[in-house]
């Protein structure tokens, strides 16, 4: 079982490289059970979306 600390790192790395299948699964499983990490993942997606909107506005 991965810790939140490991998972937050993998959530970020997952935005920059394709994680190996086993890691992707471990992250998914953790996120299913952990609201704090789900919020962290949502924050990271929010950030990406926000930055990509910068040029067009």
């Amino acid at each position: 079982m991965k810790t939140c600390k490991e998972v937050h790192r993998l959530v970020i790395e997952g935005q920059d490289r394709k994680l190996p299948l086993m890691e992707r699964i471990a992250v998914r499983v953790h996120l299913m059970m952990c609201g704090a990490c789900r919020r962290f993942e949502a924050q990271m997606q929010f950030l990406r979306e926000a930055v990509r909107r910068l040029p067009g506005r």
């Binding site: 790192r9 970020i12 790395e13 935005q15 490289r17 926000a50 040029p55």
Partner: protein, 190 residues
């Protein structure tokens, strides 16, 4: 659209282009040059603009390329100092020794609510400008110029692991900054 109308349209886009270029290049003069090149290229390439896409989208895509060219050139002339791997550890304080969150991430709510407010993007730009140059350059290549991480590492002659560390730090700092300067002000979520 007549030639004159086309030019007028381009001129109207100039402030937007400038702001975008300054953010990425962090220097008025090179931003000015990049925008100038872009407007020139747009005028010369007018036939290639089909009118199918928005003019702004088309011109911004030209500007992206001009910015990438300049970043490439800069990286050849003045490589950025490596970020040491252990510097990535300064976010350790967010976690308990057992790996649980010490400081649980807040709910940022519906992103669309923030995006509707112009002020949000001002805060975001502020946060991006506050990043150290070596973090910001890699982050912008990744997120604004939408380059693949591999490509960026190669371009900047960095190891892949160093690239990931830099991107990690940039994202964590921006998160921290948005939390502090936007969400903690109670403007984002509710």
């Amino acid at each position: 659209m007549t030639e004159a109308e086309f030019q007028a349209e381009l001129n109207r886009l100039r402030p937007t282009l400038m702001r975008f270029a300054v953010l990425q290049l962090r220097d008025e003069q090179s931003a000015e040059d990049a925008v100038q090149d872009t407007l020139l290229a747009a005028l010369e390439g007018r036939e290639r603009f089909s009118g199918r896409s928005q003019l702004k989208t088309w011109v911004v895509s030209i500007l992206r390329n001009k910015i990438v060219d300049r970043i490439r050139q800069r990286s050849r002339e003045a490589p950025l100092p490596e970020v040491s791997d252990n510097e990535a550890e300064d976010f350790d304080g967010l976690f308990e020794p057992d790996g649980h969150w010490a400081d649980k991430p807040a709910d940022w709510g519906d992103p669309a609510k923030s995006f509707e407010q112009g002020r949000f993007f001002e805060v975001l730009e502020l946060c991006m400008k506050a990043l150290p140059e070596n973090l910001s350059r890699v982050f912008l290549m990744r997120e604004v110029l939408e380059m693949e991480t591999e490509e960026i590492c190669k371009e900047l002659a960095m190891s892949s692991s160093n690239c990931w560390v830099v991107l990690y730090r940039a994202r964590m700092r921006l998160r921290e900054c948005l939390q502090l300067k936007w969400f903690a002000q109670g403007v984002g979520s509710e």
